[in-house]
Every structure is written in C-alpha cells, then in structure tokens.
C-alpha cells in the first residue's frame, strides 16, 4: 500500500517533507512502547503510535522504519518535524485512535508483524 493511500484512508495529513508518497508499505505495528518497537524487524512497516516526541523518531531511525503514523490527534512540534526530515522519515498525523487506525489499515490489507 502506498504512503499516499494510507494518508487518505486515515483522513491523515503529511507533516513536513515526506519521502516518496509512492513508497510501498506492507506491514504495520502499533505501539507506544519504543523498546517493543526495537525488538522486531521492521522492513516496509509503518509504525502506528500515540507517542509524539523525538524518541519516537529516534526509535524509528534505529529500527529502519521510514513511515510513522501519529494517532490520537497528537501534534508533532517543530523539533520533531526537523528530526523527521533529517532522518528521512515520513510523518503522518491523524485524529483517529490507534484502535481505529489499526482497524482501517488491517481491513485495507496491511499485515501484522506477527
């Protein structure tokens, strides 16, 4: 599923300079615990999280995650946006809850990590 399709499905908004909106995502992982994120292989995976701070992006960078979807209507600040751009990570924000985001994306065909 392309990044731009995900943005549309979750009534989301790209924040900052995104990577290629055609970038393909096949899996999703939802977590607010960053140590759990670091436990798994995250190739072609989108992270769905309500944790909206620099550590979300640092963790994504270490885990080789290129797309992060921030739920619960959290607002990334300027520092976060800058760090996302530096780290080549696409940030999407949405007003939906993590449960709703997960449901929509699962229904649309994204696979769980396990």
């Amino acid at each position: 599923m392309k990044v731009k399709e995900i943005v549309s499905l979750v009534a989301g908004e790209l924040v900052g300079a995104a990577i290629d909106p055609e970038y393909e995502i096949t899996k999703a992982f939802a977590s607010d615990l960053m140590s759990d994120v670091l436990r798994f292989s995250m190739d072609d995976t989108i992270l769905i999280t309500g944790l909206c701070n620099n550590q979300t992006l640092r963790t994504a960078e270490m885990a080789d995650l290129r797309v992060v979807l921030i739920g619960r209507d959290k607002q990334p600040d300027e520092d976060m946006i800058e760090l996302a751009e530096e780290s080549d990570i696409t940030l999407i924000k949405s007003k939906y809850s993590l449960f709703k985001l997960s449901g929509i994306l699962y229904d649309a065909g994204l696979k769980p990590l396990y």
Partner: protein, 137 residues
C-alpha cells in the same frame, strides 16, 4: 576508528544522537545492513538506559574490519540485581521515562539479543559499564 560521546542524565531531547551518528558512520563504511541494525539497536538501548537511569556517562565505539566494540560507562547508581534486569518485562523506570516510551523492561534483554558478546560490570553507588561486541565476520 574510535569515537567518543557524552551522555547527559535525563536529556531525552538529545538521547539517541550518539547512536544516530554511529549509524551514519557504519553506513558510510559500507557495513552490512543487518549488522548495522543490531549494532545501533544495542547501542541505542544502552544509550537510553544511561539517560534514563544513570547520572550521565560516556560512550566509546571502536570499529575495525572484524568487529565493533561499544563501551557505555555511566556514573551510577548501579544495577542492584543483574538477573532481574536481564528478565524481559522487569523495569525500574520512572514515570517520566515511561512517558518517553521506554520502561518496557526490554533494554538489557534486547542488547543481549543483538550482540555477540555482552559484559556488564556494575557496582552500587559507582556505576555500570556495558561492553558490547558485534562481530562483523
């Protein structure tokens, strides 16, 4: 090649900068992506541990053709029970640390999983030194 970084207690704004810098260096050196991933995940966990639990410290990274050795040395308080700290899910993280997304009790187990060798030297009131080795060959 040798790199040194400083860790500041409780500074979650900059936490991860050292790991990020090491990741960029390893990419430039053409290290295999799987080895980069396990190196930076281990280093990042150790860096976050030192920011979250310790009173500051240092990171020393040595890279040669055969291995990467990372030493994360902090200035206390030390780990009272290493066996417990190595158990998945066991954590002493504060509410502030949990708000930052950490404190799942996966730090040291994750470091062990991602490294070929892990040595933990800890003394209560003095500090903890983690020596982590990733073999490249």
């Amino acid at each position: 090649m040798h790199y040194t970084f400083t860790i500041e207690q409780g500074n979650f704004t900059d936490a991860g900068q050292a790991s990020s810098s090491v990741k960029r260096t390893l990419k430039q050196l053409g290290v295999d992506p799987a080895n980069i991933k396990r190196t930076v995940v281990a280093l990042f966990e150790a860096e976050i541990n030192a920011v979250a639990h310790a009173y500051g410290g240092t990171i020393d990274v040595d890279i040669d053709d055969g291995k990467i050795v990372m030493v994360v040395a902090d200035q206390g308080p030390g780990i009272p029970n290493i066996d417990l700290a190595m158990q998945e899910g066991w954590s002493t993280a504060s509410a502030k640390v949990r708000e930052m997304g950490y404190g799942a009790g996966m730090g040291l187990p994750n470091i062990k999983k991602n490294t070929d060798d892990l040595k933990i030297d800890t003394k209560i009131g003095v500090g903890t030194t983690l020596t982590m080795t990733v073999n490249l060959v």
